[in-house]
Structure formats: structure tokens, C-alpha cells
């Protein structure tokens, strides 16, 4: 019977995992009383669903509908003047949700906060471009890579993939080698679908050598005419060397190389 492969996550998997192995967790620390992070959590108040410190940075879980308000509070009241990064993680297979994160930086305190929220598949998120212009490109990339729509973004358009691309490459359902659309993209676009049979599928193996191809591969020691059909076997042809000596360096008396 063919082995079952899950279709909702086609990314690389370990070929063997011990049945009794339980992954440990990176320690999450409580927010210390009197610290800068506690002031941040207090400023956000009831909007915080969960907060802890992971590897020196405050992580704040919020409701996705409040992302704009929370980040505005962080910027205006807590001094987080820069949005370093914004993107998403695909949890569609497990929970049917995307996890979005906003990585913010406070220059005065040298502290970082990660705001995390979750949205269901097909839901849109509010843009934070009015707060941080850096989100302009970041949200476009998120839309391009995951297909997450961003409300009120000034120019929500694919950024890295071509405009007429189908599918969102960082989804777990998208295979590493690309899907059907990706493999025929150039052929379909330049020549048309009817040329698929003539041109053939794209060769993604740069080391591929076709045995009977006499057009693109030289056959040292077994030269055949260009384009000859050799699938039925080939005639062995010895290499012929020229017997004419153009310049005989051994004949003269002049020492060419001083080291001799």
C-alpha cells in the first residue's frame, strides 16, 4: 500500500521520530514587577490576552481586531518607534488559523516587543501603515506569501512573486518545488498552453545528461554527427589527431624557457 502523505503540510519532515520523544519548550518567564515590560503590559491593559518573556523579549498575545489600537498605544505611550518586522506563520493545518506577529523596537530602552495575534483563514487584518511606513512592504510581502488580505493598505499588490502568479508560496500546502502552475508558468506565458507538449516540462536538474541527446552534449571519443539518432547503438570512432606539426619547438637551438 502506498504510504500516506498528508496534503495539508507538504514541507520537509523527519524520516524518523522516536515514539516517546516529547519536545521541550523554550522557557517562558513571567513579566517581572517594576520592569519596563510590566509598564508596557499595564499600558495595554485588558487588550492583552497573554504576556510572557521569551528569550529576553516581551511577547504579547492580543485579539486580531485590536492590532491597530495596541500598536498605536505601544508607539505613542511606550516609545516603540520602529516596527522591525511583520509577518505570519501558517497554522492552517492544525488550527485553521494564521499567526501574525509584529516585532517592535524601543530605541531609548533598547527593548523589543513581539505582538502576536491569530486570524482565521480568509479573514483580513487591519493595516498598520498609518503608524509605521515600514509595514507597507512587510504587509505586501505577507499578502504575497500567505494570501492574507490587509485592510486599508495603500497599495496591496504582490511584491516578490509576479503579479499574475497563482498560489501563495509560503503556505504549508505549497510544495517546495512549486505546483503545476509554477512548473508551466514560463511556457504558458510566452508560448501558450498549446506549446506544453512541444517544449516539455522544465528540467530542474542542472546536472541532467540525456544519454541519446547529440545536440547539446559532446561525446568525447565517440563523436557523432550533430543531431544523429544513436538510440539504436552507435559506431565507435577513434579520435583523429592532426599529424602536421605547425611549429616544432624542439628543432631550434634557442632556449625558450630559462629554467630548463
Amino acid at each position: 500500500m502506498r504510504k500516506y502523505t498528508p496534503k495539508d503540510n507538504v514541507q520537509g519532515k523527519s524520516y524518523y521520530t522516536d515514539r516517546f520523544w516529547v519536545a521541550p519548550r523554550v522557557p517562558r518567564e513571567e513579566v517581572e514587577a517594576g520592569s519596563h515590560f510590566e509598564a508596557v503590559v499595564n499600558a495595554l491593559g485588558s487588550q492583552v490576552k497573554e504576556s510572557y518573556i521569551e528569550v529576553g523579549q516581551l511577547v504579547v498575545h492580543i485579539d486580531a481586531s485590536e492590532n491597530f489600537a495596541v500598536i498605536k498605544t505601544l508607539r505613542d505611550e511606550c516609545g516603540y518607534k520602529q516596527c522591525s518586522e511583520q509577518s505570519a506563520v501558517d497554522y492552517l493545518a492544525q488550527d485553521g488559523e494564521f499567526e501574525l506577529f509584529y516585532q517592535l523596537l524601543n530605541h531609548a530602552e533598547a527593548k523589543r516587543v513581539r505582538v502576536v495575534c491569530r486570524i482565521k483563514k480568509g479573514e483580513a487584518i487591519e493595516s498598520i501603515v498609518p503608524l509605521f511606513k515600514s509595514a507597507n512592504f512587510a504587509e505586501r510581502e505577507m499578502y504575497d506569501m500567505f494570501g492574507i488580505k490587509v485592510n486599508n493598505h495603500p497599495f496591496l499588490k504582490r511584491i516578490i512573486m509576479p503579479d499574475d502568479w497563482e498560489g501563495h508560496p509560503l503556505l504549508k500546502t505549497y510544495p517546495l518545488q512549486g505546483d503545476e502552475f509554477a512548473s508551466w508558468y514560463e511556457v504558458d506565458k510566452i508560448f501558450g498552453k498549446e506549446y506544453r507538449d512541444i517544449i516539455g516540462p522544465e528540467n530542474r536538474d542542472p546536472a541532467k545528461v540525456e544519454r541519446y541527446d547529440t545536440k547539446r552534449f559532446s561525446r568525447v571519443g565517440y563523436e557523432v554527427p550533430f543531431g544523429a539518432d544513436i538510440s539504436e547503438g552507435e559506431k565507435e570512432q577513434a579520435i583523429e589527431y592532426s599529424e602536421t606539426i605547425l611549429v616544432n619547438y624542439n628543432a631550434g637551438t634557442k632556449q625558450l624557457d630559462e629554467r630548463k
Binding site: K13, V55, K81, Q82, R112, F132, Y174
Partner: protein, 410 residues
């Protein structure tokens, strides 16, 4: 009759003259020599003035973040070379540090010294490259030749250490693979002297008071501090706007907390200020390198962290002890399994804040890896600062942002 695009006759969309509002749309790149790789910049011009700029990226997209989800942690490390290929060690290091933070391990002191040395050497390489290409874009050809000469010496040092000149992979998760070769420190000291001399007597002598250079750079590409923060500028782009923030100083990693160096800031917010800043940073890098040379001699000869669960034992142990061999076999065939959790680790690469966000689900493959590349955000900034400038300054402004498309498109 206007040409209709179809499958067989190509449609030359590059030039679109004389539109209704009498502006001209031109494509700057993706094959323009000053486009720093694969930047396609669609400019709408009114005469010679830019009315609208639209940076179009993605011509070098290789799906590195996707590859990270399909490779084990150690497998992925050489791929990070291809992000910012001008300063590969900075990428290797940023990635290795992120994974180390996830694992909760620390590299031994000798590895730290070597890593810091390589990072600073890489900063010099990258800044020399910036200077060379920026000067070439603006029209100062000879600076390009001089700067590339010194960059060759720096790359020779890298080659002596790791065997590669461009894609180094010189850092491993948990340490470094090799000790410094004999005589390397002497060569490094000589190189520091050389760079200091050349910066002062060649580059600065050629450019700093050069009338043409000043005319082309002063008051060109002015970015206010608020704009720089809002657009996510980091590194020299942020410090060039008067914000004194260097991750090496403010959130120190590796040995930077023990080293004595200054953070130069430019208050003028223009391209000329940024050029002066790069020059000063090169001097600070050689200052750091000089301090590291005596530190190296005081360290124990251990290169990789001891964490048998995650990192293979030294080769001698693998060859002599059965258990070390078994662990090595598992780590090579299955890959290390970091604990569940997420981490974002920022580092100061030569271009700015290079951070890796890694989400681990306890598998040998990262569940999600996001590379926060400084050039990506600096490219986004172009759509604002180019508006209102003249077409001759576009090249200067692209040069001063120092974008590298390996990390913009990833």
C-alpha cells in the same frame, strides 16, 4: 496605432512617452548597472524631476524562507550566504546566533573571538564594496579601483581562514569550524594598518573635500529621523539620520560588550553624512580588530560549544568514542531538534539590523523562518525619498542606501 501585446511580438513597455499629463514613465533596471543587482525602479518623470517612484523587486527571489522550512538547521546555514552576498559571514552569524538562542547554548570564548573578528572583517569588506560601487555610480572611477584592491586583501584573509572568498559559511551553530591558521593574526594586523592608511590617505583624500563629490552628495537623499524610524531604517541609514542606535552597543552580543569602540552619527541626514559615517565605521572596525588580536591569545583552544544533544562532538571523539559517533550519526541523518518556541534575534550587519525570526515546533525543520533583511526596508524607503529629486540624484540615492538584492528578494 499603438502596439498590442501578444505572444509572439514582444511588447516594449519600457518607454511610454508623452502621456496625457506630459510625464514620462521609464524603467530604471532591472539590468541597469547602478541598480545594484536586480532593482526595477519605475520612475515617472516630469522633465528631469521624479514625480513618482515605484521600486519593483522580486527578480532575485529564490524562496530562501521556503527552503528553510525544508532543510535541517545545519543544512540551511550555507544558504544564508546567499542573502547578503557581500557580507556572508554576517548572515551566517545572525542565523547561527538565532539558533543558539533557541537552543540556549553559547559558543566557547575562542569561537567568540574568531566570530567577532570575522564579523568586523566582513564589515570592512562590505563598507569597501559600498564605497567602491557608490563612488563608481556617482562617477569617481578611481576610488572603485583602490577600494577593490583593499577588499581583495580582506578577502584573501577570509580565504586563508575558511577557503571561500564570497560565500564564507565560516560560522557554525555553536561555534566556528576551524581555528585561525598560522600567521593569520599578523596578516590581520598588517591589514588593519593598511586599511587605516588607505581610508585616510586615499579614499578620504580623494573624496571628502572633492568638490564634485560634495556637489553630488550634499543635501541629496535627505531623510529625517522620524522618517527613518517610520520606514524601518537601521544601521548606517538610521545613524546617518542622527539616531544613535547600534545593536552592537545597545543590545550587545558576542564580545561587543567588552570592546571599546564608538558609534559614529551623522547629523546632516544626507548622502554625504552617510558617506562620512561609513568611513568612520571602517576605522572603528579596525580599532575593534586590533583589540581582538590580544584577546585571541588568551583563550582556550575550544571551538564548538559542548551540547551533545544538538552539536556533534569534536572529530577526535567521534573517531574514538562509540557514543559520540552514534550521536553524530543521529545529528547528521535526522538533524538537531531544538525545543519548541520562537525567537527573534537582531544583529548589526554592515547594512543594518539583520534579524532572524525562527519558530520551532520541536522538529528538525524550522516551522517558520523569517529573515528580517535591512535592505528590504531600505528599498521600500526609495518610493518616498526619490520623489521630487532629479534623475541624476536617483543613482546617488540608490547607492547611498547600500541595498543588496540577495537579501531584498531572499
Amino acid at each position: 496605432m499603438s502596439q498590442q501585446p501578444n505572444k509572439l511580438t514582444p511588447f516594449f513597455e519600457n518607454l511610454n512617452f508623452e502621456r496625457d499629463d506630459n510625464t514620462m514613465v521609464i524603467n530604471f533596471g532591472p539590468q541597469h548597472p547602478s541598480a545594484h543587482g536586480q532593482l526595477r525602479l519605475v520612475l515617472e518623470l516630469d522633465g528631469e524631476q521624479v514625480v513618482k517612484a515605484y521600486p519593483d523587486i522580486g527578480y532575485l527571489h529564490r524562496g530562501i524562507e521556503k527552503m528553510a522550512e525544508n532543510m535541517t538547521y545545519n543544512e540551511f546555514l550555507p544558504t544564508t550566504d546567499r542573502l547578503d552576498y557581500i557580507a556572508s559571514t554576517a548572515n551566517n552569524y545572525a542565523y547561527a546566533l538565532a539558533v543558539e538562542k533557541l537552543l540556549g547554548i553559547e559558543a566557547p570564548r575562542r569561537a567568540q573571538v574568531i566570530r567577532t573578528m570575522l564579523l568586523e572583517l566582513n564589515r570592512v569588506i562590505s563598507h569597501l564594496f559600498f564605497l567602491a560601487t557608490h563612488a563608481l555610480d556617482v562617477g569617481a572611477m578611481s576610488v572603485f579601483l583602490y577600494a577593490f584592491r583593499e577588499r581583495e586583501y580582506a578577502m584573501d584573509l577570509m580565504e586563508d581562514y575558511c577557503g571561500a572568498r564570497l560565500t564564507h559559511s565560516s560560522v557554525r551553530i555553536g561555534g566556528v569550524p576551524l581555528d585561525l591558521p598560522a600567521g593569520w593574526l599578523e596578516n590581520l594586523a598588517a591589514f588593519c594598518d593598511k586599511v587605516d592608511y588607505e581610508v585616510e590617505h586615499t579614499y578620504e583624500a580623494l573624496l571628502t573635500e572633492n568638490r564634485i563629490w560634495k556637489m553630488r552628495l550634499e543635501n541629496v537623499g535627505v531623510i529625517s529621523a522620524e522618517e527613518a524610524l517610520s520606514w524601518g531604517c537601521t544601521g548606517p541609514m538610521l545613524r546617518g539620520s542622527g539616531v544613535k542606535y547600534d545593536i552592537r552597543k545597545e543590545e550587545p552580543y558576542e564580545l561587543y560588550s567588552e570592546l571599546d569602540f564608538d558609534i559614529p552619527v551623522a547629523e546632516t541626514c544626507d548622502s554625504y553624512g552617510r558617506y562620512r559615517l561609513y568611513m568612520e565605521e571602517m576605522k572603528q572596525s579596525t580599532r575593534i580588530l586590533r583589540q581582538l588580536i590580544p584577546m585571541y591569545k588568551k583563550t582556550e583552544p575550544r571551538l564548538m560549544a559542548h551540547a551533545p544533544q544538538y552539536i556533534s562532538a569534536p572529530k577526535e571523539e567521534i573517531m574514538t568514542q562509540n557514543y559520540a559517533l552514534m550521536q553524530h550519526f543521529v545529528l547528521v541523518t535526522q538533524g538537531m531538534r531544538p525545543p519548541k518556541g520562537e525567537v527573534y534575534v537582531p544583529t548589526e550587519s554592515p547594512k543594518g539590523e539583520l534579524g532572524f525570526y525562527i519558530k520551532s515546533e520541536g522538529e528538525p525543520y524550522a516551522y517558520r523562518l523569517k529573515c528580517r533583511a535591512p535592505s528590504f526596508f531600505h528599498t521600500g524607503l526609495l518610493q518616498e525619498i526619490l520623489v521630487g529629486t532629479y534623475i541624476a540624484d536617483v543613482v546617488t540615492i540608490i547607492g547611498t542606501t547600500n541595498i543588496v538584492f540577495g537579501e531584498v528578494d531572499r
